[in-house]
């Protein structure tokens, strides 16, 4: 993993809390998750809200390593953590190509999975969407970026 860069303040009121990358190796989603948790330690995100953020970051990093970078260890997943206005934003970028995955995915059909009519997998995007206030995915020919947003403040955050 590259070392998180020190926080910097941009003129546009966004404040970068951390920028780092992790190799695309199974298990490194926990490294990304704990690094983001450390980066937001001074924000008002604690307890269950922090656990939700950590799960969203871990799942998004797993998706990036698996589907974007095909678990090629030499291809990094890049993570940036910043605050803009009253939002915490985490952007996770892989080197995948092709259209980004559909974002409007409904809840997985557990009955169909239990009956063997669907693969038991396919929970990642659903979990991410459930854990944060906003999620979006963008992409071009060589990158996919998933953006996670948590509204800060007393009324913000899931």
């Amino acid at each position: 993993m590259t070392d998180p860069k020190p926080a910097r303040t941009d003129a546009d009121l966004s404040r970068t809390l951390a920028e780092f990358s992790v190799p695309s190796e199974a298990g490194n989603e926990r490294l990304a998750m704990e690094t983001v948790a450390e980066a937001v330690r001074d924000l008002d995100i604690r307890g269950e809200s922090l656990e939700r953020l950590k799960t969203a970051v871990a799942e998004a990093t797993m998706n990036a390593m698996e589907h974007g970078n095909k678990y090629r260890a030499e291809v990094p997943v890049e993570v940036i953590v910043l605050v803009e206005d009253q939002d915490l934003i985490v952007r996770i970028t892989d080197r995948g190509s092709g259209p980004p995955p559909a974002q409007g995915r409904d809840a997985p059909n557990l009955e169909a999975k239990l009956e063997g009519m669907q693969t038991p997998r396919g929970w990642g995007l659903f979990l991410i969407k459930s854990m944060v206030d906003e999620m979006s995915i963008t992409g071009d020919d060589g990158h996919h970026t998933i953006e996670l947003v948590v509204h800060l403040g007393v009324e913000g955050g899931k």
Binding site: A26, G27, N28, E29, R30, L31, E34, E48, E51, R52, T55, A58, E59, M62, A107, P108, L110, K113, L114, E115, G116, T119, P120, R121, G122, W123, G124, F126, L127, S130
Partner: protein, 118 residues
Amino acid sequence: MAVRHLNVEVRLEPDVAVLDLMGEINGFAEEALNTAYAQADAKDTKTILLNFEGVDYINSTGIALIVGLLAKARASHKRLLACNLSEHYVEIFNITRLSDFMSVFPDEQSAMSETSVS
């Protein structure tokens, strides 16, 4: 950060086979989990209890593995229960609706009480 591979111990309580889960439930856990479940299934009890007390991380692949265990239990008409999940993973079991199909208890004692009255 080193992965804490799943270790599972199987023990037999009255009418219940208990799987004590320790470590992470992720893609690396598949063999350990399925092997332990097969051992528990062979105990020939009507109920199998997953004890998550030693588990600090479950990812979406781990959720899929638990769905697989639940499918096996339903196919063999066994009850699969869960206990000692953290508050966060209780929420995830609710969101995924796993808790609609497997009762979740705060601790082993309450799970055992349920099995003794049903």
